[in-house]
């Protein structure tokens, strides 16, 4: 729904959104809600928000912004990397955001006849296109979850990540997605010796996220293995 800025209504001084709008409980309700669903779609609210700018600059505001604008911001952007952190079983894993094309709901995996591979799971219908689905958990040798995660997090949803390596899209299911995370190259540590040899061969380091150690998938190593395991 678009903002109906083309219609012009006066803005009431106390803000109708706080009385007859979605932030108020007064009856009768605003008749325009039926059409617009939420005050944020309304031109009165839009005009009201612009009025909030039309006041004197608070103390320290200019000083603070002068400081912020004087600082160079390139330095941080240059050496920070973006990853998507997700969970497979008990393990938290990070993948470069650039590799991910899409995060989608769980799709039905169609098994392939005579396929005995633990890694190749089958194909999925991803928006009308056939994509190869593999098990990253099996590739990394991660066992099924031993903890009950649902008790800790209110809503845990399995998802599928569509990623593209070497120009080919692949799909793999994950137990949960945490979201985007940024880290700096110097914050990435070496893999501990105790990491499973199978998992270690696809990772190029460990980053700290909250109180967890998250293994970073290496694009080149992963591509190599995928191409080898799933020969087309």
């Amino acid at each position: 729904m678009t903002i109906d800025t083309h219609k012009h209504y006066p803005v009431p001084p106390d803000g109708c959104w706080n009385t007859i709008g979605v932030w108020g409980k007064e009856i009768p309700r605003c008749p325009r809600l039926e059409e617009l669903t939420h005050c944020k779609n309304c031109s009165v609210f839009h005009a009201g928000s612009l009025k909030a700018y039309d006041r004197a600059i608070p103390e320290d505001y200019r000083d603070e912004w002068t400081r912020v604008l004087a600082q160079s911001k390139e330095a941080f952007v240059q050496d920070s990397k973006s990853v998507i952190i997700f969970r497979i079983g008990d393990e938290w894993v990070a993948i470069a955001t650039g590799l991910c094309k899409e995060i989608s709901r769980m799709m039905k995996i169609h098994r392939l006849p005579h396929n005995k591979s633990q890694i190749l799971r089958g194909v999925v219908n991803n928006g009308g296109e056939i994509r190869i689905c593999f098990s990253l958990g099996n590739l990394l040798g991660i066992a099924k979850a031993s903890q009950v995660f649902d008790a800790v997090f209110h809503s845990v949803y399995s998802r599928m990540i569509v990623m593209e390596v070497a120009g080919r899209p692949y799909v793999f299911p994950v137990s949960e997605i945490s979201g985007l995370h940024y880290y700096r190259e110097e914050d990435r540590g070496a893999l501990p010796k105790t990491v499973l040899a199978s998992a270690a061969s696809y990772m190029n380091g460990v980053i700290k996220w909250e109180d967890k150690n998250v293994g970073c998938l290496d694009e080149a190593l992963l591509t190599d293995q995928l191409e080898r395991c799933i020969r087309l």
């Binding site: 612009l50 909030a52 039309d54 600059i57 608070p58 200019r62 604008l69 004087a70 600082q71 390139e74």
Partner: protein, 156 residues
Amino acid sequence: MLFMQFKTGKERYIFEARDIIEVIPYANLKPIPKAPPYVAGLLNYRGHTVPVVDVCYLMSDKLCEPKLSTRIALVNYKGVNYKNEHNATVCIGLLIEQLTETVRFDEADFSDSGVVLKDDPYLGKVVIDDHGIIQLVNIKKIIPAEAQDMLFDSVI
């Protein structure tokens, strides 16, 4: 096309958004002694000095009021840079009142205003919406010719 809208008094004007680098709050500016009143001062933007011009003063002879809605649009401007290279891209700040909205119009929506001022060549075509007439401002022409040497010699 996307345009940035601003107001001087109650009148609405727009300029093309594609030249804008960033719209920033009204930060403290270092005044330049003896500069004309439309030179608001120098801004330290990420370690570079950027001259800031008061567009309100250029258009209506009134200095911008220090309000939250008064902001600075940093724009790319073709001019002469400090190395004396002509047609180099330089960054300049435009201090403008009520710089709070973007609007979209098609090129076909515009019509000639019918009035061309020789002294103010920056005022361009007009467009009409439900609230009235909006005039297009050419920010490339808004800085007076005599000010251009003075401003761009200092720009990095």
